[in-house]
Amino acid sequence: MNPIYAVVWGVVALFGVTAVYGLVWAIRSGQMRDFGRGALSIFDDEEPVGMVTDAFPGGQTADGETGDRS
C-alpha cells in the first residue's frame, strides 16, 4: 500500500479527534456559559465599553471635521 494513504488517514483522524476534543473541552470548561461576560472580555478599564478606539489621522472625520464627537 502506498504510504501516503497512512499519512492521509492519519491526518484525517487527527483532525477529527482535535475538532471533537475542542468542542468537548469548550463545553466542559464553561466556555459555553455566561455569554454576556464573554462578549465583554475584550474591554478593560482603559479601553472600556463606550470608547471608540479608531479615528482618521488627527482625530478628523472623513469630512475633515475635528473635535469632540461625543
Partner: protein, 482 residues
Amino acid sequence: MNAATSSDAAPAAAWRAEVDASCAYPVVAFFVSAVFWLLFGTVLALLASIKMHTPGFLSGAEWLTFGRVRPVHLNTMIYGWGSMAGVGTLLWLQARLSRVRLPLQLPLVVGCALWDLGVAGGSIAILTGHGTSVEWLEFPYGWSFLFAGIFVVVMAASLMMFSARRVGHVYVSQWYLFGAVLWFPFLYVMANALIHGALARGVVQAATNWWFAHNVLGLWFTPIGLATVYYLLPKVLGRPIHSYYLSLLGFWTLALFYNWAGTHHLVGGPLPAWLITVGIVGSVMMFIPVTTVAVNHHMTMKGHFALLKVSPTLRFIVLGAMSYTVVSFQGSLQSLRTVNEVTHFTHYTIAHAHLGVYGFFTMVMFGAIYYIAPRLTGREWSSPRLIKIHFWGTALGMAVYWIGLTWGGILQGLAMDNPDVAFLDVVRHTMPYLWSRTFAGVLMAVGHVAFAILVWRMFTLKGRRLPEPASAPVVAMAGGAQ
C-alpha cells in the same frame, strides 16, 4: 517557551503596549510583504483583464500570455497578499486576545522572508512555463514543502500563545483563529499529497482540487476575516457584540458545514451525483452560520453608522462584513443545479469569487492594517486624503467589477444555454462587461497605490507620533454603549 506573560497587575495600556511591541517585527514584515504582493498581483490582474478584451495586448512574449499571467495573479493574491496579511493579523490578534507577548519572533521573521522567496520562486516558475495547471496550486510541488514548514511555525506560535494565555475565556475570534491555523495546513498538505502524490487522478483529482480551492476561502480566509471583524467591530465601536451566543453558534456551524461545499464547483461534471449533492447540501446549510454573522454584525452596528465617518478601520471592515453576507448567500444559491445551469463557466463566477476574496477578505484586511499598524509603530497614518482615495477607489472598483461581471455573466450564461446563439456572438456580447472589469481594476489599482504609499510612510515612521506608545487615536464616545 518564550511566550513571556505580561504582569497581571500591569495596567491595561501597559500590557497592550508590551504585546504590541513584541509583534512589531514579525507583523510588520508580513504586512509589508503582503502589500508588495498586492501591488504585484494588481499589475498582473490588469494585464489579464486587458487580454480578455484585447487579446493581442503584450502577446509577443510567451511569459506574458494569459495562461501564465492569470495564475500568477491568482497565486500572488492568495499566497502573497491574502495569506501574508492574514498571518500578520492572526498573530497580532492571538497575542492581543491571549494577552501574552508574541513568541518565536525570529523564526517568524525568517519564515516571512522564506514565504516571500516561495511566492517569488513559484511565480517565476509559472511565468517560465513550469506551473502545474492545478487551479489554486499552480506553484510547482517543491514549493509546497516550504509553505508547509512555515505554517508549522505559525501554528506553533499560535498554540504557544493560547497555552500561555492570561484570560480564562476563549473569545469567539480565538475560535476562528484556531480554525484557520489548524484547518488550512491540513487542507494544504492533504491537497498537495493527494494531487501531486498521484493518489488522486481523473475526476477524483478534480474533486480534491475543488475541495481544496473552495476551502482556501472557507477554512482559511473566512475564519481569519471573521475573527478580525468579531474583534475590531466591537472594539472600534466600544460596544460588545450584539449576541455572543449567535457568534459561537456561527463558528461551530461553519466548522460543520463549510468543508462539504467544494464539490458544488463541479455541478454538471462527470462525478457521482451524490458527491455533488453533498456539496450542494453543505452550501445551502451555510445559510445558518452566515445568517448568525449577518444579524450579529448589523445589530452591533445599528445606531452607530455615523461612526463610519470617524474610523477608517470601521469603513473597511463594515464593507467587508456586508460583502461576506452577500457573497455567502449568493454562493449558497449559486450551488443549486438550476442556478448553476446558467452561471457555470461564465463571468458570474469570477464576480462571485472576487466579492469573496476582495470584497470581504481584502477589505477586512485593509481595515485590520489601519487599526494594527499605528499600534506597532506609535505613529499616525500620514494622510486622511490618501485613506479616502484608498477606500473609494477600492469600494467603487469592487462595485463596478461585481455588478458588471454578474450582469454580464447571467446574460452570457443564458445565451450559452440557447443553441440558436453562435458561441462567438456570445463572446462579442460580453465585451462591454470585460471593459468594465478593466475599468474597475484601474480604480482598485489607484486605491492600492494610495494604500502602499500610506504603508510605506507608516513603516518608515513618517507619520505624526502618537501621544501614548500603545494608543492609536482614541475618541471618547459618551453613550457609545447602548
